[in-house]
Every structure is written in structure tokens, then in C-alpha cells.
Amino acid sequence: MLTLEKVTKVYEHQRGVITVLQDLDFAVRPAEKVAILGPSGSGKSTLLSLLSGLDRPTQGTVKLLDQDLGAMEEKQVTKLRAKTIGIVFQQFHLMSHLTALENVALPLRILRRTTPYEKATQALEQVGLGSRLNHFPHQMSGGECQRTALARAIVTEPPLILADEPSGNLDSQTGDFVMKILFDLVSQTKSTLILVTHNEALSQWCSRRLLLKGGKLHEV
């Protein structure tokens, strides 16, 4: 499904060179649920950027569905990401001027899928927001915004879902509720889930737990 081979990521700053990831090897099987743990500054953001094809490694290869992202044009990566990856951000990143329905329908429209609004409505109903279709982000609570973001991530039925601390901005009760929805949806669609978190309890929801430390992943 997703493979990282000897991946190294180095950032050059005015004050010197920082190696965030060092010769990292990592493979995820289809329908696997993987939690990546790590303290702040351990390189989780960098890893997510590489996994989603938003950034390129300094060395090594990142393969998604056997395609080397580093060898592809940015446009091709963008297309591949649209088809195969759903991303859930900690800060939701919903379009502020679009309604919940329009936000969720957007990936379908980008992929030129048929009946985008019907499918988006279904996805929002799946996350319990059937009554909030025409609400704007600023008219919804944090939990509702994150559920909208979940619906947007799964609406295209991508084989891989990257979730970046999806309950990080929510209270524990709402966070648990959102996490339950996320795992239910992933199970239903048999998607692969990579969950990045620093919350030990949340990581327990996954079948496999990895700790990012010293630029490498360690099984927990």
C-alpha cells in the first residue's frame, strides 16, 4: 500500500542543517490501522508531508500503490493524492466560504464523480450531520467541523486515510466521538489508516503502533 525506503529528510537553515528523518524504512499494508506516536519536534509533520506527497524526501523513496512519488511530476502527485488519499487535519481546514455540503462535495467534483451532492449528503449523514448540510464552518462547533472534515476525507472512498491528531482541537468527549466515527468509517470502507498523535490512549485504537524518535520509527 505505502512504502518508505531509506527515507532521509534534511532541512537547511541559516543556523545549520537539521536532519529530521534518517534512513527511515516503513511499510503499511492495505486496511491496516497504524498509529504514529512521537513528542513535539520528532518529525511527525515532516513524515505526514512525505506520506501525502506534499513534500519530497532528501534521500530515499516513498511509494504509494507501487508508484514512486519522488519520480512523479507534482501534477501527477496531485492527481494521485486526490484519488487515493483522504486527509484529516487537526485544524479541520474547511473552506470558510463553503457550506458543509459544498466542502464535502468538493473532492468529488474535483475528481469529476457523478452526483457529488448526493454522495456528500450521504457522507455527512454517516457522520451525523444530516441536519447541518447548509451550515458554514463558522456556524458549527469544533466537533461538527471535524466531522465535516472526516466526511470530506472518506467521501471519495480513498484507500489511504491520513489523520493528523483529529481530536487534538476537541474536548475528550467530542474527541472520542469523532475518533469512533473515524474508525467506523475506515472499517466500513476497508481503507488504510495512518493516525498521527501524541495521545497514548488514542493510539490504542490502532492495530499497530509506531514511535517516531531520533528520525526513525520504532515498533511500540
Binding site: G41, T78, F136, H138
Partner: protein, 893 residues
Amino acid sequence: MRSESPLPLWIHLAWLETKSHRAFTLGFVLNVCLGMIGFLTIDAFKSSIQQQLSSKSQSALGADISIWASRLISDDEKQSITKTLPPGAKVRYETSLLSMATGIPVTTPATTPAPNPVPTGSTRLVEIRAIDQSFPFYGELTLKNQGFINTGSPKDVVDNPHVWISPELGIQLGLTIGDQLKLGNALFTITDVVTNDPGAMPSGLSFAPKIFVGQDFLKETGLADARSRLWQAMMVATGSSSSQADGLEPIVTSLRQALGKSDLRVRSHINAANDRNRALIYLNDYLGLVALVALFLAAVGGSFLFQSFLGRRITAIATLAALGLDRMECRLVYGSQLVLLGSMATVLTLLISLGILPQLPWLLGGILPEGIKPALSWQSAGIALLLGTFGNLLVCLPILHRLGSIQPSRLFQEGQGDGLPYSFDYKQLWTWLPAAAAYWMLAIQQAHSYRVGSLFIGIFIVALLIFAGFGLLLIKFLTVTRKATGNLSLDLATLALVRHRTGTIASFVAIGMGTLLVNLIPAIKNIVESELQRPQGKAPPSLFLIDIQEEQKDRLTQLVPPLTGGVGLENLSPLIRARLTAINGDTAKASGQNLDNSGSSTREEEESERFVNRGYNLSYRGTKLASETITDGRFFSGEFIPDPQVSNPAKIPEISVEERFASRLGLKLEDVMSFDIEGVQVQGRITSLRKVKWTSFDPNFFVLFQPGVLEAAPKTYIGTIPTLSLEVKTQTEMQLVREFPNISMIDLTATGARILALAEQMSQALSLMALLTLISGLAVLFAIAHHQAQKRVIEITLLKILGTDFGTIRINVILEFAILGFAATTLGSLVGITASWVLASQVFESQWTHDPLTPLALALGLGTTCTVTGFYAVNRILKVKPIVLLGNALFDK
């Protein structure tokens, strides 16, 4: 250890905001700087032209103030006037009258005599100007042999029976230096020829060749007695400190008060200049308006940039509020930042202006009108300092006020988005008032007119309301039409416009206003040029012929073409002298008795005084000239057919009146004017008002009768002979003098050439100013569009992350900017056309010329600028990786 700052916290925070956001600081400072440089450059041009006008007008009048009457001024009056003048004021006297002069050649004839010599003892109508030792206080008369004549140097004619003559009189009478002239009872020797005379009597009597004589010798002619029709003037030099417009005004007012209802008229050299330098005054008015436009564009751009900046700082502001800074302190932080930024921009502006302005005449070569040397004055620098430092604060006051509505609680809420919270509230309207009042005062200061300044502000306010209204309509239209399309790019574009309602309206208003203002520049330029140019681009005539008798006109018409090689006599017009006796039966109104000489303080009132109680030249014709346009009513219905029922008002002859003349006398359509023509009363009913282009040099008249009324009245004719070469003109002049000794000929060649050159130079200067403002307008539009695109970084990046292909994103942004840009620029051009009509008819009182291509080109050009700017900005965003653009905001740890 770091020491505590001695400055209040809000100033320190303002400095940190300025220092930390260098891109914004630079953009804001450059924007304000651009507008201020435009303002200062134009203001410097304006000041230079004003200085030039003032200097020219002093030279033209040869004094600061003239007090004159169409009679000799009595000794009592002279004493009374002298007492009213400030200490140190100097007085000289000038007398002017029309008389016949007889030439007596005494010099040896040239070895090669002219083919058609002027007969000995020829007589011509001349204007005699009697001067004294002090002539002129300012400027100089240029003589062929004696050179420049300044004050104190005309001893030649003052102490001797000598005269200086206009060159055309020499040609017309066949005289040269050394020959003699008989004026009345006295004989004079011609000692020089006037090659350049910048002046004229305040009466405006100048349609005859001039002869300069000494005051004492005029008495010997016997022409200047109490029964003579003459003009006498007391010419006053007040002293250097009060010779400018502001200093003269109180003196003119006190003189008028002292003279009361006397028929003595008082005019300063500034008033006199208004008649002679109309073209330069037009340019000056134009520049005042352009300066306002440049400043307004900078204000629009500056407030837009600041609003965008605060929109991005909203979380920081909420945090400051959460930490305990109260609303006023928050406003103080950003108000101080504005003052700081304005000060930086002002310093930069002044430095650049000091460096560039003195070099402009050299940089622009012959484009600037002669004598115009723009330089930064203390007054302009002071205004710039005040405007630059505090102007932004006033303009951004509504934005600063809105800072108070930012709640710290937003820090606990998600999805609040960027941008200042905005909801329209009538109670907040006061926040616009200081900027509006300041701009209004500035407009009045620049235009030197309450009316023009107020009209300008009125146009701006109406335009703002129109743009805001149409912005709302655009949103409504897009809301309705959006549902019909299935195109993602178009949908995203319209959604962005519809849902970012406030931003869309603000951008629409800003782009629209920018377009409107840029549109005004070529429109005003057209108005000014149309004032300057002759109809159909014709050159001014070479000769102006007056005093053609009835029995001479046919012969003259036949004689001219063979002399000139086919060029005929043009615009032959009858001229009937008359006196206005009543308006709608009111004799007081016609005699000006209801106008208080002491109370006239405006230019309009002064002009009213000049128009009443004087003789008029009437004429009649059935067709209007190319230099005339009917502005109200209709031209004559045909020939007048008398009705035996004299009392029938519908059968009063029709007259057409020049509109400015009508305005000064308060005349309107259907008013009846009564004239006395050699003792015969003639009435005329106003059926049309005419706009006359006086620079055409066509024989134009204030009052024109329909044919069939004045044909039997005693009259002479005037006419023109078009452009001729010097040789042909001289030969024609000599031949016509020989054939028609009574006809006076005014040589307009030099005047015409000066006007053409001035028109050409002014046209180039106007084009340059238009170009400067256009560049400034484009820069502001670019800033607005670029900031709009920057505000969309997160949305564009998200679209990219979600897999939208670059083409779709580009088309989305292009469509968004194209819809916004072209809608706003099209409306801007349409409002610009309307505003130019208002300016033409109300400010310049000029004919509105419609040029559809320029507004169309500007709408397309500026709309394209918006679209291209959006495209450029989005392309930059697309080239950058999302992780770089969003940084930690993407995967927040």
C-alpha cells in the same frame, strides 16, 4: 538585562508591528509614497503655473490694481483713492481712447518702392494709450530700436511730442520711424515701433493698432476732454508683500467699499488675468483635480492594504485584548502604526520630490509650457507632511473603529476565518466624517472654489454609493446564476465572490473608484483641449478686419481672393452698437444699480459688474458658426416677420445669448432684453443660450438677433482673413489700406502662433499628467488585486491538497478576478462618463465631448490588469509547496 522601554506600550507594539511585517510596511509606504509623489508633482506644477500666471498678469496690467472708468477720473476721486491705498503704494495714470490718426511721411522713400504704396495722408482708426513716467510698474514693453521699456524709462514719449506705434499701423499708413502722425490737433514724430506689448487697458479696448504717447501731450491733441469717449485708469503698485492674490484682496475690497456705488471699477491683476489667461487657468483647474485624484487613489490603496493587514492580524489583536489591552489601546497600537507608516512615506516622498522636481523641466524637455519650473514649495511640503502623517489615520478611522468589535472569545472558537468583522451600522457613519471633511477642505483648497470642491466630494460620495449598490447587485446576480452552472472553476469563482460578500463589495468599490478616477483624467483632458482648440483644428486667422462699411463689403469680398491667392474673406458679420436699457422691463437691473460695488468678493460677482451698464456689439445671422453650440433652447426659427400687433409677446424678435454672459446677468430663456440703438428701442426675447469658443477668433457676439430685425440699423461689418504667409499678409494689408483707408486691421499672426504653441504644449503636459495618474491608478489596482489573491492562499493550497488540477485552480482565480475586475471597471467607466459630463457642464462650464473609445479601452485595460494580477499571484502560490505556504498550520503539532 533588557531595560524597560520608556515609550508607552502601544507605541512600542506599533513599532514592533511595523518592524515585523516588512513586506506590508514596504507595500504600504510605497503605495502612499506613489500617491503623494503624484500629488506633490501635480501641486508643484500647479503652483508654478499660478506663479507664472501671477507674474504674467502683473506684466499684462503693468500694475497690481487698476481703478478705471469710461471717463476722466476727477481730482476728488484721485485723492479719495490715494487715501485708501496702503502706505508706500505707487500710482501712475493711463488714458486710452479711440481716434483717427493721419500719417505724414517725411523720411526718404525706400529705393525700391512698394508695388502699391499707401497714399500720403492716409487716416486710420487707432487706440491711443497715454502713459506717464512710471509706466509700466511691472513687465516691459519691447521697442524695435530702444529695446525694453521698464518703469521710469519711457522718457522719450513722456518728455517729447513723440509716439511709438504698433507695426501694423506702420504698414497700414505706410509710415516708418522718423515719419509723423497727426492726432487731433497735435503733430507727433514716430520714434519707435512696438514689437512686444504684454499689456492692455483694463477696459479691454484693444481692437485697433496702438499708439503710445505721453499723458501731457495727449492734452495737446484736444481729444481728451470731458465729452470724449475715453477710459482713464489709476494704476497702483502696492508693494512686494501684498502683490499676490491673498494680499491684494483686502485692498481691492477696501477700495470698492470706499468707492461705493461710483462707476469706477476696481480690478486686481489676478482678475485681469482671468480674461487673458483662460487657457492656463483651465490647465490649473485641471491639475487641481488631478492632484485630488492621485491623492484619493493613494487613500483607496492605502486603506485597502491596511484592512488586509489587520485581517491577517486578527488573532494577534484578539490575543492582545485577551491579555488585557482595552479597545482604545488596541486602536492606539494600530493608529500609531499608521502614523509611523505615514511618516516614513512622507519622508521618502519629500526626499524623492526634492530630488526629482527640479529636474523635471530638463527631463521632459520641451513638453512643459514655457516658464513652468515645478519646485517643492514650503506650503506643499507642509501639506504633504500633514497629509502623509495623519491622512492615513483619518482614512482608516472606520477600520480602526471596527477593531473594537474583535472579541477575545474568538480565540476559543474555530472556523472564524480571516478578515475584520463587519456589519453595517448607521451609528458608525461618523467614523467616515473626519476623512470626508478633511478631503472636502483639501478639495476646496486645491480648486480654490467651494463649488468645485464640494462638487468633487459630492461626485465621490455618489460614486461610492453607486459602486456599493452595484456590488450588492452583482452578488445577488451571481447567487441566482450560480445554480445554473455545473462548471467547477466557475462555481468556485462565483462562490468565493458571493460568500466573501464584504471583501467582494470592498474590492468592487475600490476597483470601481480607481477606474472612475482614472477615467476622469482623459475626460477632463478632452474638455480642456476642446476649450483650447479651434473648431475642426483650423488655424487662427491672420487678419481681423473691423469697421467695414455697408457699401464696402461687396467690393472687399471680391478684392480679397485675388490678393491672397484664392483665400477669401470669412465670417463677415454685421456689428451694431447698442446700449442695454432694460431686462424684462427692469431698467435698474440693466444698469447694474442693484449691484453693490463694495460687496463683490467673488470672481462671478466681479464679472457681473463688468457686464452691466456698458455698450454692446449686437449682430444678427440665421446660422450658427462651428465655434458655437446651443446649450439651451433652439436656434432661430428663421427670419423675423413683424406683427402689426406689437403687444403680442410671441412676436418679439428672437435673440440668442452667450451662456456665460446670461449666467452673469441672471438671464434665462424667454427673458426680454431692451436695447437702445441710436435712440431707437429694440427688444429681443431670449430663445436660445449659446456656448461660444472664444479662442476660435471667429467674430462671436454676446447677443445675436434673428435676421429681419437689425438690417436697417446703422452698422459696420467685421470679418477675418485666414492664415497667410508673411509676405502675402503684408501685401494684402497694404493693398486693403490703400483701397479702404477706414478699415482697421488687426494682425493676429503672432497671437495665433502663440495660442497654437501653447495649446500644443498644454496638450502634451496634460497627456503626461494623464499618464502619471494612469500609472498610479494601475499600481493601486495591482495592490488591491494582489492582496485579494494573497488572502486566498489557504483556500488555493487546500484545493491543491484536495487534488484540484492547476488548470482548474488557475481558471477559478482568473474567473473570479475577471468577473470582479471587468464588472467594476465597466461600471467605473460608465460612472466616469457621467462624472465627466457633470464636470464639463458644472465645473468647467464647457461643452462635453464624448469619446467612447477611451472609457472602453480603460475598462478593458484595467479589468485585464486585475485578472492578470490575480493570475500572476495564483501562479506564484501554485509554484510553492503547500507545506511551505501553510507551514505548521497544515499539520499543526
